[in-house]
């Protein structure tokens, strides 16, 4: 059962091991080193920045699918999310907190497009320790996080196109990263029907 300490599991049932509670942490550098190896490995496999971002996105996608399984069971108790705003809030708060230790800086609806939403972060974790060489232009490691978000959304039944972009902020040296979510038409239709 949830909430039972790992070591006590044998008292309940040998095979009925509880899920880890998600409180354990590792050194951020350990993650940074590993992530940077993943990026470097992909670099040997691709021809351009675009392909590199696709690769990272795919890697993140598999993580996103698993993150949703894990968090729904642990955090959401026995509710299911069926509305668009609900799942976005879930990602902005619960998923972000679990993965990055904090809520995302903002969640906004695009002003021009009905089906677009943006989750933004001043300093996205994966962009903090990677310095991108000049010749790689707008390459954004946030593609990995975009992949995670896409995995979560797809798995929850809200297919979308998800991409990561640098957006300059006035008066700031470093741009922020915006995860742009564009929902599939079927999702928008379903939302409309539900009123």
């Amino acid at each position: 059962m949830l909430g039972v300490a790992r070591g006590r599991a044998h008292l309940v049932n040998v095979v009925d091991r509880p899920l880890p509670k998600g409180k354990t942490e590792v050194n951020l550098s350990a993650f940074a080193f590993l992530f940077s190896e993943l990026v470097q490995y992909f670099q040997t496999k691709v021809n351009n920045v675009n392909e590199l971002e696709r690769k990272l996105e795919e890697a993140g996608y598999g993580v996103g699918l698993r993150v949703l399984e894990l968090l729904c069971h642990r955090e959401k108790a026995n509710r299911r999310e069926t509305r668009l705003l609900g799942i976005l809030t879930f990602i902005h708060s619960t998923v972000w907190k679990a993965l990055f230790g904090k809520q995302a800086d903002s969640l906004e609806k695009a002003t021009t497009e009905e089906d677009e939403y943006m989750i933004s972060e001043k300093e996205l974790l994966v962009n903090r320790f990677i310095s991108v060489p000049k010749d790689m232009g707008q390459f954004n490691c946030g593609a990995y996080v975009a992949g995670i978000v896409k995995g979560v959304l797809d798995s929850a039944g809200f297919p979308a196109r998800v991409t990561a972009h640098f957006v300059p902020i006035e008066g700031q040296l470093r741009p922020r990263t915006t995860i742009l979510i564009k929902f599939s038409p079927e999702v928008m239709l379903r939302e409309q029907r539900m009123g």
Binding site: V15, D16, L65, L70, C72, H73, N78, T82, M194, G195
Partner: protein, 141 residues
């Protein structure tokens, strides 16, 4: 006693079906699980004007002469089905069962070698589900 449990994926593809009866009932239970999916589809589809929150636990899907069929659906739209021949199972027990069943599934789904949407081949998962099935209705924990 639980006579059959099943996990069914997003595309209504069976990920895991296990029966616990002596006889060769595989075909029969595949049919039971199949029928259950229709009821789940009906129960779990968001309603117009609904609050947007829906319980994962769907309760009794349908009774047959000999069995009761219960259902549960996760946020990831994976369906869990349980068939019991105990016609007076306590709801708390059934809810508890699904929670543990779901937890076992989550652990198996997090295995980096599990391919999402594919059959759950893990022996550990099968063993855990056996343990949960055997413990059904016996413990209050």
């Amino acid at each position: 006693m639980i006579v059959c449990v099943g996990v069914v994926g997003q595309a209504n593809n069976p990920l895991f079906i296990q029966s616990y009866t002596e006889g060769d009932d595989a075909l029969k239970f595949h049919h039971v699980v199949h029928c259950a999916l229709d009821v789940i589809e009906e129960k779990a589809t968001p309603k117009k004007g609904g609050t947007g929150y829906n319980e994962t636990y769907l309760g009794l899907l349908y009774p047959t002469e000999d069995y009761k069929v219960y259902g549960y659906v996760s946020n990831t739209r994976v369906k869990f089905i349980m068939v019991s021949d105990d016609l007076d199972a306590k709801e708390a027990d059934v809810r508890g069962f699904f929670k543990r069943f779901h937890a076992a599934y989550v652990d198996a789904a997090l295995n980096p070698f599990h391919v999402p949407g594919k059959r759950l081949a893990s022996p550990t998962f099968a063993a855990r589900v056996n343990g949960i099935v055997n413990g059904f209705g016996k413990s209050t924990a």
